[in-house]
Structures are given as C-alpha cells and as structure tokens.
C-alpha cells in the first residue's frame, strides 16, 4: 500500500522567510504532483514532476523530486501572505491513474 507523508502538517512563518515542505512516499513512483487548496475552495494544480531530478519553479515556489530517496520538496522563498493555503503532494501508483495524497501542510504566512 502506497503511503504519502508530508511534514510539517502545520507551518506558521513570517513574511520574507524561506521554508521547505517535505513529501515522502513509500513505493516506487516516477510521478509526483503538488496542489494548493485555499479555505473552502477546490484543489489547484501547482507542479507536475515526472522524472528523477525534476525541478519546477513558479514565482516564490520551487518543487523538486528525488525518486531514489522517494522524496519531494516544495521550497518557499521570501514568503508573502498570499501563499497562505494548504499544500498537498500526491503520488501516482506505478500502474497509473490513482493518486494517493499526503495529509496536507497548512501554511500560514504572517505579516
């Protein structure tokens, strides 16, 4: 059974600071996804990582994938209040088309 673990689950940080969210998974997979969810809203796709060593960046967020370590990171640079949300990672099982989600990391950026 594929397990996906995120840490931390709760993160409170100040504007301007950097931080990293970690996503570990238990079974071989080459596909990892990051999503953002605002309170009361649905999930918005942020990044799709499809191979070992993949790195993607959008604004103040950068995601990377190490398939050998079964680890993905979401790095936040110089956080701003607008980044406050819950961030989920999700991993596709090897046979495809079934995502297993992490518990989510609730990020609060304080002024």
């Amino acid at each position: 059974e594929l397990k996906v673990e995120q840490n931390p689950l709760f993160l409170s940080m100040q504007e301007g600071k950097n931080y990293t969210i970690y996503c570990n998974y238990s079974t071989t997979s080459d596909r990892l996804y990051w999503y953002r969810q605002d309170p009361g809203k649905s999930l918005e796709s942020l990044f799709v990582l499809l191979s070992n060593g993949a790195v993607k960046q959008e604004g103040r967020l950068m995601a990377s994938l190490d398939t050998k370590a079964r680890l993905s990171t979401l790095h936040i640079t110089a956080a701003v209040h607008d980044l406050s949300a819950t961030y989920f990672c999700a991993v596709d099982i090897p046979s495809g088309s079934r995502l297993t989600f992490g518990e989510g990391t609730q990020l609060t950026v304080n002024p």
């Binding site: 996804y33 809203k41 649905s42 796709s45 989920f88 596709d92």
Partner: protein, 112 residues
C-alpha cells in the same frame, strides 16, 4: 486547462434520501474520479472511471455507486444517504499527457 464543473456547491439532504452528484468536463478525457475530503483524513478516492460505462472502486466505495453514460459526465450516487456521508465531494479529470488531475469546485454535502 480542463474545465470541471459540479452540479451543486452546497447540498443539504435527509438521511435515507437518494443523492446524485454530477460532474462534467469540457473536453474529451477518459479518466474521471470522485474523492471525498474530510478534516484530518485528507482526500480519499471513492470511484473512478476510465471510459464510458467503465468504473473501478477506489479506497472507500461502500455506500456509493457511479454512472458514466457519456464521456463528459460522471455521476456519484448515494443510494441512501447517511450522516457519515456528510463531506466535501471533489470530482477530478485526468489530462492524459501529464497524468495531472484537474479538480472541480467541490460539493459540500450535509446529511441531516
């Protein structure tokens, strides 16, 4: 991007009622999914469909059924709603090129 719409944002039903939740995509993708999201439990897959009239159980199918008569439409059915089915229900569509899933706005269902 794929546009995914769901029939209702908020729904209140009584115990024992039959409930239909509809999901429609604006493209021609094959794979569609129904999840429920609960605090502390994250997103859990209920059912998915990989083509018209084709379906597979997810992790928590008990108490639910699905229907896919047309490619663009995937319905989740609660045969006899119970209070433990109060939840946020999310539909998703997979884009084949990247396996990325696009989510609808969600339906918050309350069963009283």
């Amino acid at each position: 991007d794929v546009k995914v719409t769901q029939s209702s944002r908020y729904l209140v039903k009584r115990t024992g009622e039959k409930v239909f939740l509809e999901c429609v995509q604006d493209m021609d993708h094959e794979n569609m999914f129904w999840y429920r999201q609960d605090p502390g439990l994250g997103l859990r897959l209920i059912y998915f469909s990989y083509d018209v009239k084709m379906k597979e159980k997810g992790d928590i199918p008990e108490g639910y059924s699905v229907s896919r008569e047309k490619k663009e439409r995937f319905s989740l059915i609660l045969e006899s709603a119970s209070t433990n089915q109060t939840s946020m229900y999310l539909c998703a569509v997979e884009r084949e090129q990247t396996y990325e899933q696009y989510f609808g706005p969600g339906t918050r269902l309350t069963v009283t």
